[in-house]
Assembly symmetry: C2
Homo-oligomer: 589 residues x 2
């Protein structure tokens, strides 16, 4: 019995310190070796547990919760390939800096690499995909070991949140017997004094020094043709701050859909949202070429913004990176400043205030006006033509943007949906948060991530293509088990729509086999199995009503709209051309 | 255009050498970066391509093909989390020594770790889970680089098949443009002389030396109480050889269901298949305690055989390992002999022939007779009681064993099904191959592995529980896309049946939540979506007919039978007790 007691206290102290350090949720996949963590987690009064059988979906579900709540989430599974199923979400967490605490149960040392069942090499299993790996000690209830257990927990929560935030992996060797002894609430403190949390950790704030900021402020005020580019970055207060900075500098603010600058109460006068449409035109791109670009967040989704930066080496790119990474695929950065973007933008803005008064700087200039006008023309054309167009995937985004209510979350699949959102989700004063797994841009785990996000945000709409929907069908189980509310809009073009935009499409032989990959699946069956409501839209004019109805009702709702990949490409190209012709006319006036 | 030409020839020579070295199949998941490999693979006249969208299922599908065909299979996917989805099958391939050639497309060096889309760190991505990793050179069509490309291909095929066989990973950095130039068949040889294959590789055979074999033969002939234990091992000719060795030594041959000794034309007089039932009885285990055990293959499935070996340190265990591993979770091995099991058993047998003539050794002894009789009593009881019992999962195995035709493959899920097959699949003269993912014993990827196996074996029946069926539902897509024939028998006990056999079941609080995990899914919907036929068995007496009908028809057939986890445990225990009481009576006579 003393073995169980030691196991119980060691794991109980670990979990309790996780909770004290701010972890509120743990996603559990069933298994035997992980019994001590699962059973104790279920008993902790302040830890909410979520079950998911498929560990791949479980990890993405946790990722979604962590992204939406901006708080670390723990996951736990048994030994063996269960651990391997965590890999996709761990990679995405690493690439998108999401704090995930991966707990894996393992055989003890004497049962490793000797053919014992379900034993694989879990030491450093995730390699460079995690920030920190700890092979935990065998459970003991000596004071020192309980301090150790608490200390690792506190540190894990801190490490996964420090820049660059990301996943950590703790591997627990457990010996049998595996069932903990849970008699009463004393297990959360027994054996150690009552300090809870045992240790508080304060992470640093990355700040640029005053001298650098002064110099930069003075330099920027002397420049007319400047841009602020806001890539994917999800931080409260950042939208207002970035826009205010742009206003003070007289620089247009290019807002990626994942920058959270397109939606909300802040001023959007200088927010540019249609650059992906008009920067694809060489003439316009040349006319709107800046001297300097200040970039925040990850590289934006838009391929044409990327090419515009890459093809103009004379643009001085100043990259503000709060994660200590190197997010410059143009390989043209002139300055990389490692600093917290929010603090940096605020402080730089405050320095400009002073300068402005001194210099009497004017913020209405032809540079800013050209951008604002081009963006207005593009936006109006995309919207007015797109919203009437049948068989056009961009229209799905327009309808969504029009009818999503205040506080909604729009979770977007990779491949075509995020690109359509980039093109067709225009600025709005409603608070709508747009999310996407944009770390590694995978089509996997999307349903699970969105459903994980739905636990802290409502109403949530997920927009995905059919391949992405298929890839994580198992993720729908969470909606059933946990009675979640979500609307999923599936744009079903029978395969990989993005390939029709790529050079592969010029080679018809084997194209459908290798790239188009039509699956021919009637998803209504799957949705029914998971207890959801499935609606197939037959008339494009019904789409908006159907979304609105679904948002008002609870539970899982899947709305499918069928499109044609070939028609869709043509319509995209036609609408972009239409907008750009009008802009060129304006610029040539 | 010369970039495309270099890319084309480099990849064409690589693929052609794979084919020349024996690779016949490649499983492709759609993606852009992997375009050169996918498009060229589709053109190779001797390479069969198989599409699967979900990379996790794709890799397991390839694993199943490789296992069933005993030949290496290649898989290819694009960069990013696609690679991560291969991890579970790669782990299983490593742990079960299956030759898998993992090809991943990657961004070139200048686009890595700088925020380019879909770029993750793929160098050594699978860590210790693969045997060999190669970061390929950037494609060039200089002679040296085409020789390099062919050499790596030939070596990859050799390495993945040499002991211990397992997965290898080749990571291909590809620059745009990605579309190869395929004009005619000259691409398979252009730029190099016409040697195809470019290089032949001959792997070694691991043989024990004659002196050791002579000594061992003479020692074994002096021992009466010996056993041969055959664990999971799937090799033609091995069954006859092992049985012949046992006959010459007068040692019973304990045959794991995955040893392939229970089914086939070879003599089964001394093959013991019910030891899992009777070794759980302490009295019987003590009475049937050997002096020496010769073990082939991995550790058998049976927990009670394991405990019998572990609890008797005086048993001299001689382990013949053809993979260079250390498969002895008892930690009691007296001898580990690294040698090819088939050659070893043949050679040892041939030495015994001589000795026998010289010594006039008698092979009918009371030791052998006790084992054979105990096994016969157990088998008869399990069969006769089990086959009449409703609500009993063991009966599903009995019915399957009775009606599977010649040349059938029975693919078995982990957790309860493989244990039930161990208990209830008794010896038969029909050639039936029994397969299972017994490397890491995961419940993941089982449908895909079985469907992969079905491409080379017919008829195939997969026996799984509901959690395992759920875990790889996406795997069913392969049956639809490739029009495969398979019968899947789902034992649906609404959750994790194995936990009812474990100590966790004594703790009812949270048991259903954490371990039972009932999903409440009506699988008929999913099966319908994939174009399969779904049958739910309501009367146990209909089970056999339904299986027989299904085997005769083509396509995907899913047969579900519902059981009760609690009743099932009780029935198992009662039947084992019944058999063991009879055996004790016999032994006490």
């Amino acid at each position: 019995m003393s073995l169980n007691k030691a196991l119980t206290l060691y794991v109980a102290h670990f979990l309790d310190e996780l909770v004290q350090a701010g972890v509120k949720n743990i996603v559990i996949s069933p298994g035997s070796r992980s019994t001590p963590i699962a059973m104790l987690a279920a008993e902790h009064p302040d830890l909410k547990i979520w079950l998911q059988v498929d560990e791949r979906s479980a990890a993405f579900f946790a990722l979604g919760m962590a992204k939406a709540s901006r708080e670390p989430v723990a996951i736990v599974c048994t030994s063996g390939t269960a651990v391997a199923n965590y890999m996709p979400a761990v990679v995405e967490a690493k690439e998108s800096q999401v704090p995930l605490i991966v707990l894996t149960a393992d055989r003890p040392h004497e049962l490793r690499d000797i053919g014992a069942p379900q034993a694989i090499d879990q030491i450093n299993f995730f390699g460079k995909q995690v920030k920190w790996f700890v092979e935990m000690a065998i459970p003991e209830d000596r004071q020192e070991m309980l301090r150790y257990s608490r200390t690792v927990a506190a540190r894990a929560v801190a490490v996964c949140q420090m820049s660059p935030s990301g996943p950590v992996h703790l591997n627990f060797p457990f010996r049998e017997p595996l069932v903990p002894i849970i008699e009463d609430d004393s297990i959360w403190k027994e054996g150690l004094d009552e300090r809870r949390p045992f240790v508080n950790v304060t992470p640093p704030t990355w700040q640029a020094n005053d001298e650098l900021l002064e110099q930069l402020a003075s330099k920027l005020l002397s420049i007319e043709r400047g841009l602020i580019v806001c890539g994917p970055y999800d931080r409260p207060e950042f939208a207002e701050t970035a826009v205010s900075l742009g206003e003070k500098l007289g620089f247009p603010v290019l807002a990626d859909p994942l920058s959270q600058l397109r939606a909300g109460r802040h001023s959007k006068d200088i927010v540019i949202d249609s650059y992906d449409a008009f920067l694809r035109d060489e003439y316009i791109a040349e006319r709107l070429k800046p001297e300097v670009v200040i970039r925040f967040g990850a590289m934006p989704v838009s391929k044409f913004l990327f090419l515009y930066l890459k093809n103009n080496p004379s643009i001085e790119q100043i990259i503000i990176d709060g994660e200590g990474l190197w997010r410059d695929p143009t390989l043209l950065a002139a300055e990389v400043i490692y600093a917290d973007p929010l603090y940096f933008a605020k402080k730089l803005g405050s320095l400009l205030n002073k300068k402005i008064e001194r210099n009497g700087h004017q913020f209405t200039n032809s540079w800013l006006e050209s951008w604002i006008t081009a963006d207005r023309i593009a936006g109006e054309t995309l919207y007015s033509v797109g919203k009437e167009e049948p068989d056009f995937e961009g229209r799905v985004v327009i309808e969504l943007a029009d009818c999503l209510p205040e506080q909604a979350v729009l979770f977007v699949g990779n491949s075509m949906p995020i690109r359509d959102v980039d093109s067709f989700f225009l600025s709005t004063d409603r608070n709508i948060r747009i999310m996407c797994n944009r770390g590694a841009n995978g089509i996997d785990g999307t349903i699970s991530t969105a459903l994980g996000a739905s636990t802290t945000a409502w109403p949530l709409v997920l927009l995905v293509g059919d391949l992405t929907f298929f890839h994580d069908l198992n993720g729908l189980l969470a909606a059933k088990l946990h009675e979640l509310n979500a609307t999923i809009v599936v744009v079903n073009n029978e395969g990989g729509g993005i390939f029709s935009f790529l050079p592969q499409s010029a080679h018809p032989k084997n194209f459908e086999l290798l790239f188009g990959t039509p699956l021919g699946l009637d998803f209504s069956h799957a949705v029914k199995m998971y207890g959801g409501r499935f609606t197939r839209i037959n008339r494009w004019n019904d789409l908006r009503n159907e979304i609105t109805t679904s948002l008002a009702s609870g539970g899982l709702n899947v709305i499918e709209i069928r499109t044609d990949r070939y028609l869709n490409v043509e319509k995209h190209r036609r609408i972009w051309n239409l907008a750009n012709e009008k802009i060129k006319q304006y610029l040539q006036e």
